[in-house]
Structure formats: C-alpha cells, structure tokens
Symmetry: C2
Subunit: 414 residues, 2 copies
C-alpha cells in the first residue's frame, strides 16, 4: 500500500472562480453549456484556460489539433505526468462534465508550484480538444491525435451537421489540418483524470470519492424484428405475429438475465421505432437498440451472446424474424492498480470516504490506458445528473477531489 508524504489544501475560491468562469462560456439559455470542437465558444474557453494556466505560472503550449497543455517543468523533463480531461461538451451539457477534470489538474499544479516548488518529474495539465463526439463522430479526437491514431482521410470524411469537414473546422480555428500528426507524443508517463461520476451511486450512498477500477466495455446492437401488420380488430390473438410483443419479450428477458449477473453489468434499450405505428394496426416491424456494458471482456462477450440468443429464441417461439447487428464496440479498460492505490492512500490521508467503482461511461482515460498507466477519480454528481445543464457538484466535493489529486501528483512527481 502506497503512503502519502504530504497533504495540500487547494483554495476553494480559486476552484469556484475557475468553474464559474469557464461555465459561462458558451452557455445558452434553455440548453446549457455548448462548447463543440473548433467553434467560437470552444476557442474562447481555451483562451480563458490559457490565461488561468499562465497566471498559475505554468508553461502554456497547444498542439497541432488544439489540445492545450500547461506544464510545471521538473528537474528530469524527459517524461511527463499528465492530468486533465476534455474541454468540449455534450450538445446541451453542464458546467462539470470534462471541464472539471481540467480545472482540477490546473488547481493541483497551481497549488504544487506555490507550496512545493519545482517537481522532480514534469507535470502537465491537459485540456483535450474533443471527447464527446458532439459535433463530429470523432470521439476521443484530441486523445487519438496524441497517440498518432488519426488517419489522414478522417480530416475530410468527418462532417458536422452543416457538412463542414473537421479539417475545414480546424483550419478556420487556426489549426492547419495537414499538421495533425505533429500532435503525437511519446513522452507521457501516466495519466490521471478527475471526473464527475455521471451516475448516482456516490450521491445516493453518501460516499465522497470513487476510485475507478475499470471503464466498462460497451457493445451496442441494433435489433430488427419483423412480424405481420394486420387489422387490430379482425385478427384473433392466437394467429397474430405481433413484432412489438416479441420485441417487448426480448427486452424483458434480456434485462432479467443481465440483472441476474448483478452489478456492474448493465443493459439499456433506449431507442425504439415501432411500425407502422397505427393505433389499430398490429406492429409489423420494430427496431430497438441494445447498449450492453461490463468491465470484463469475457463476461461482456458472454452477455452479448445472451442478448442475441434471447432475441432468436423469442423470435422462433413467436414466428417472427429477427436480426441482431453490432453497431459499436469499445473494449473494457482496466485502470492502473498502483495508481489506484496511491489515490486510495491519498483519500485516506484526507479522511475521505471512498469506494471502488466501475465507470459506466467512456472517458479519455479509457484511450490513455491503452498506452500508459491511467487512473480516474470520481466526485459525486448531485442526483446523478450528467450531459445536463443542471449538473452540479458542491464546491466542498470538488475541493476534496482536487486535494486528493494534488497529494497524489506530489507523491508521484516530487
């Protein structure tokens, strides 16, 4: 078990200023925070962040795709310990998702510089330019650029709702897209990310911090069920082939089996299209989505088989046709156990309650963990809200998280 040598106390007023200053940028009434990649609001937020980084005494630098870094240079500058998150938002987001992880890293580095001086190893805070995929289907764009994973053809192929390519958007924002490969780095030693939980477990259970053991793998499917459209009055129940009744049975049977696995397995059927959709016509075609998540790859694949076998067996019994098509696939990502232990030791030093958690949502740490040791620290979201303008984490919960992050970074870098 790691031990913690020294604690720090970040200034709550500074954290509050950071959150409120950034939260105002791109705020739209009746929607919330809108900072989509390469838009004016996104650029304004980066400018404000850059000013805060400079004021905190960090060396500010941006890369070729628009990731923004603030560095506290160490005695040994060959590799860097990175902390941060993404600056873009969901289409109508709040003041916490993503941005709080950047501000936590900034608050930590500011505090360390002021109270502990130059570190042994370099520390950086990063505002990753794109994670949500809100404007472009380019989830983890900033992250992928750092690992040299962007393909040249994506610059033109990725288009927003106005048919503007991501390359054009980059150029308009001052980032010549042909230089995208210059964003690649090989000097990252590890990554730490603080984030709101985006669920209600910490909030409901009154636990102060979540130590993420793994980010769940996600498999998404589209299920299409075909039956027979017939007159609601003239067709006896016993000769119907009602696509909806079959689909409802599939949905309940799948849910029951996933529930039987217990936490953290989750499955959601959120999108439904029932046709022809007339009150007096028996449904002949139903499409629905399955979103299945589990942190263990073998279990995830086994549950995926449960989903497709359940659909097929219900369809067979009811004389329906069914197809189950996989539409997305993210493998589970384990967080680094040594980093988890350091975070836990830090939490204990502050007397903070904590629990191990599995992240149900995807995060930059998922991509980072494929390349370097990565770890995540969750703070509570009131009512479990996220991707919602009402997202809220009380300042004492924010400060507790940043303190734990600060002490952890001290432990790693000094």
């Amino acid at each position: 078990m790691a031990t913690i040598d020294r604690t720090f106390h970040v200034d709550p007023a500074t954290m509050h200023l950071y959150i409120e200053s950034l939260g105002k940028i791109g705020w739209q009434d009746e929607c919330g925070a809108v900072r989509l990649a390469y838009t004016p609001a996104w650029m304004e937020a980066r400018k404000q962040l850059s000013a805060f980084m400079q004021a905190a005494g960090l060396e500010v630098r941006e890369d070729a795709v628009g990731n923004l870094f603030g560095r506290l240079r160490g005695e040994d500058d060959s590799r860097t310990i990175l902390s941060g998150s993404h600056i873009d938002t969901a289409p109508c987001g709040g003041k916490y998702d993503g941005i709080l992880g950047i501000l936590a890293g900034l608050g930590a580095l500011k505090t360390l510089r002021e109270q502990a001086g130059q570190p042994r190893r370099s520390l950086e805070v990063v505002a990753l330019c794109e994670e949500e995929g809100s404007r472009y289907h380019a989830t983890y764009w900033g992250n992928r650029a750092m690992w040299g994973m962007i393909r040249a053809e994506e610059l033109d192929a990725l288009r927003d709702a106005d048919d503007i390519s991501i390359g054009e958007a980059m150029r308009a924002a001052g980032f010549p897209p042909e230089r995208y490969h210059e964003a690649a780095r090989s000097d990252i030693a590890m990554f730490l990310e603080m984030h709101i939980e985006q669920g209600r477990i910490l909030y409901d259970e009154h636990v102060e911090l979540g130590i993420v053991e793994a980010i769940q793998g996600i498999l998404k499917f589209q299920v299409t069920v075909h039956g027979r459209a017939e007159h609601a009055g003239a067709t006896p129940m016993d000769i119907r082939r009602d696509a909806f009744q079959g689909a409802a049975q599939m949905a309940l049977d799948i849910t029951r089996q996933v529930e039987e696995r217990g936490r953290p397995a989750v499955v959601t059927m959120g999108r439904w299209d029932v046709r022809p959709g007339g009150v007096n016509v028996i449904p002949s075609e139903v499409r629905f989505s399955i979103d299945l998540r589990h942190p263990d790859e073998a279990t995830l694949r086994q549950l995926a088989r449960v989903c497709s076998e359940t659909c097929e067996s219900v369809a067979r019994r009811r004389g329906l046709e069914v197809t189950v098509e996989q539409i997305e696939n993210y493998l589970p990502a384990g967080m680094d156990t040594a980093l988890q232990q350091t975070l836990i030791a830090s939490a204990k030093t502050y007397g903070a309650s904590w629990k191990y958690m599995v992240s149900g949502a995807g995060h930059d740490s998922e991509q980072m963990s494929r390349h370097v040791p990565a770890a995540m620290l969750f703070v509570p979201s009131v009512d479990g809200l996220s991707h919602n303008p009402a997202e809220y984490t009380p300042i004492e919960d924010v400060v507790r998280g940043v303190n734990v992050l600060t002490a952890t970074l001290y432990q790693l870098a000094y």
Copy 2:
C-alpha cells in the same frame, strides 16, 4: 330456423365487370383506390354506379348528403329493405372494402328483378357516401345523415387536411349543405351488408362465408408511463426506474390476460413513443396506445379494468408513474338473430360452408343496428388484407356471397 324457398345465380361476368369498372375509378399507382368523400373520383364512381343501377332497371335517387339509392319498388312501398355499404375508401385502399357490398346489393336486385319480377316489399341498394373517416373525421357520415344524427355545426367544424370544411366540399360537389337534414329517412325496415372479412380467419380456415353475430365494441386508451432518464452506463440495474421496461411489462401482462379470455377478445398496442430515445439513455417517458375490442359490453368494460389495473400494478411495483386515458369508445352492436338465421338457411341451401363471426372492424351495420334490424355477411379476403391496394376476393367467393344475399332478400321481400 328459416327456410329458403328459391335460389338464384347471379352472373359472374356482371359482378366482375362491376368490380373492375369501379376499381379503376380513383386508382393511383403506388397507392391504390382513393375515393375520398366529395372528391372528383368519388363523384365519378357515383356516376358509374348510377349508370349500372339504371341499366339494372332500378329507380335511382340521391339524397341531400350524397347517399345514392337504387330502388326495386314493391307492391307495398311503405317501407324498404336496404342493402349496401359505403363508396368511399381508406386513404390507399383496394377494390373490395365497402364498394363490394354496394355491388353485391346491385347484383342481387338486378337478378331478382330479372328472375323474380316485382317484390311484395320494396328493396333498395345504397351507396353510403362516407364511412371511413379518411378525408374528414366524419366516420359514418352518410349513415348518420339517414338517421338525422348530423349536427348543423359539423358542416363547418369538420375540416380536411387543406382546411376545407365538409360543408364547402358538399357544395362544390353539388350538395347544398344547408339541406343535410333532408337526408333523414324513417321508412327503412332492415339493413343487410355484405363485406370482405378484413381479417384472415375465413381465408386460413377455408370457410366460405361468415355470419356476423356482433360488431365488437372498441375502447381505445393512451397510456403514459414516467420513469427517470439516466445514463445507460453509470446507473446500476437495481436502482433504475426505466419507463420502457415497465411499459413492456404492462403490454405483455395485458396481452396475456386478454389471450386467456380466448376469441373474440383482442387487444393491440400499436403506437409507441419512447423518450428521450437515445441509445445510451434510460427511457424516462413512454406513451403507447391500447385498442381493446369485445362484442359483449360487460366483458369489454371488465377487460378495460384489467388494462388499467395492470398498468397501475406494474407501475407501483417498479416505482413508475402511469396515467391511462380513454380516447375512443364505440359500444358493441349485436346483429339481428332472425336475419342471421335467414342468411344461414340461405348459405346451407347453396351448400356453402359458414361460421359465426364477430366483426373486429366497425361497419355501417353497426350504426344501422342502433335503429333497425341489421345483419352482415362476410366473404374471405385473401391473406386477410384490407385497407390495402392488394385486397382481393376471388370472383367465385364474391358470387357465392351475392347468391346467398339474393336468396335472402327474396325470402324477405317476396
């Protein structure tokens, strides 16, 4: 049990000519038959029908709203035995729904006049002007006019998709709307209607004729289920309040209980709206329709209670909120038993197979039966199709039905 004194054989070529001549009028490629009330296609069809009626030696008359009658005057002309159906179609209909009942009455009266001469009691065939409610929400308009049930304010209040009132449409078609009340009649003795089944029972079971005992009552409900929208990844199964899972359970539980009642009880949940509808968001609000039908009013009301109690009990168990709102209400209509017996005796005389049926769809006979004895004879629809351009009933099935109708009318009027 009634007995039949004499059989008749209508000319298949004449019936074929009738069906094909009328079927061409208002036919639109990629849609089907479109004869909406008071449109040019509707007027052209009435003109063609009028010519066929005259050629058959009937006295042709139209009433103030556009119902068209062909009379074979009897020795006693004080009351009339009416047969027919509606001339308007569903938005993209076929060549049989409605119009076949008019052509059957016409074929029967033509045959009786030619082969049996003047009847003792007057016989009439009617082309009712509107039954489907396709252009106006004016279901049974022609029928209601005959029974003095139209209210003056409807002439302006009923509007089509182009905001043309039904009064304006009537005037444009040559029917001054202020005269609507002149359509009322008090000399109808009884009503007989031949119709395609609109379901697949006769077709699947190879039964030639259906004797309708009752037209089902219909209750329609809108159910709204409220749960909690949360992140599909970050919310464990055991703390979810998934509105869709609850609604699916309601749908399956209701269906099972209605199935347990056996034929002819039917229930259909055909229209579904699941919100917010994101793949990775737990559904928070579901609206769905319930269409419940049974020929016995007490049973219908009891099944309605089953529906609402099931919704409430599932909602309670799952921590959801639910409202069940009745949106339509048609009471069951019993067909006249003496007329049923005459139809059955006629079917037997022709050696036709038959079965008692309940009509799941509404028909003009439902309205007629509130005022005079009414009866319905079903002929098979291939594959159970209706409200569909592919509607088809083979000519031998048509002729068998018209023969049975003709012998029945002979029995009643001669």
